[in-house]
Symmetry: C2
Subunit: 200 residues, 2 copies
Amino acid sequence: MSVKSIICSESKEIAGYSFDEYREIVKEFHGSEAPGLLIGGFMVALALQNLEEGGLYDAISETRTCLPDAIQLLTPCTIGNGWLKVVPFGRYALTLYDKTDASHPGVRVYVDAAKLKAWPEIYAWFFKLKTKGQEGQKNLTEHIRQAGTSILSISRVSVNDQFAKKLHKGKIDVCQQCGEAYPAADGKSCLACQGNIVYS
Amino acid sequence: MSVKSIICSESKEIAGYSFDEYREIVKEFHGSEAPGLLIGGFMVALALQNLEEGGLYDAISETRTCLPDAIQLLTPCTIGNGWLKVVPFGRYALTLYDKTDASHPGVRVYVDAAKLKAWPEIYAWFFKLKTKGQEGQKNLTEHIRQAGTSILSISRVSVNDQFAKKLHKGKIDVCQQCGEAYPAADGKSCLACQGNIVYS
């Protein structure tokens, strides 16, 4: 899958959906029309336009917040099928890259802080300069719709082979401590029994 | 939200869907009828039956594989809205717990290795004793349908307050190295610039 010349589309279409159709899908899955997820739709759309059609790709979200849901809704990549990985870098950016060869250039799309200055309402929300009550959700949604992909930038990236490598669980054993199945490669007991950080 | 007496349901209903309806939803979102995701449907259904209706809950998946998608499809909890956390313990287990007070008992549902012995086909798949070609997907799906919740166990758990705590990003700054927005609490530059493990 090769990357075409970079397109900086100003299309208001989101991967085949109108903006309003996409808003409905977002509400159904995510529970609310989170502004980040609306911007995320344009991000995924822009990335897809810059990949060969019909190719198979994996995805990276560089933030845990909102963006993973845009990727899961608009691409075949989900957390559970392993095609989407979340790296908690805290940057509002995503990458789509060739599933069969990570060293082929993929595309990375990010919210461009400089371009955002042309949209003060979105800027104020993105940099958390207003309290939730002050935000004016309706206006913000309208600004996001109008801004479309104009607040985004895109670049070509190569994903590290080591990072892209598919993890396989290998042999499955029964943990001697908890009695549940776990990947034997994790050690003599499962990782939860080795260091439980979840349950009290 | 209190936990009712534990129900070990043998219902074949999956959170309001028939098994076949759920299979269709799974295919659409996940790309295939992964056996783990079919079992995951019964796991979510059993957990939901053991929580008060109308309560708000957060979710934990103790594995990255398949199960997070069952949770995302059948509950309001997604990766992007932060209501679902994945802890890579490698155990096929999920927990749903009170969003407003993690110390209230939540419910944890897991595939019970001992109960699985009554279902040799599922056992062989779960412990990876057969190669992919030998599995016989159709038979496996039928066995999973018939087994329903009978291969699962459920227990009450309390989730560690520290783990349950909602993370807030705090002040957002522009990274001096890459020029992108990041949570200022991460340090003088963003975590990607501090240690890029993703791109080559």
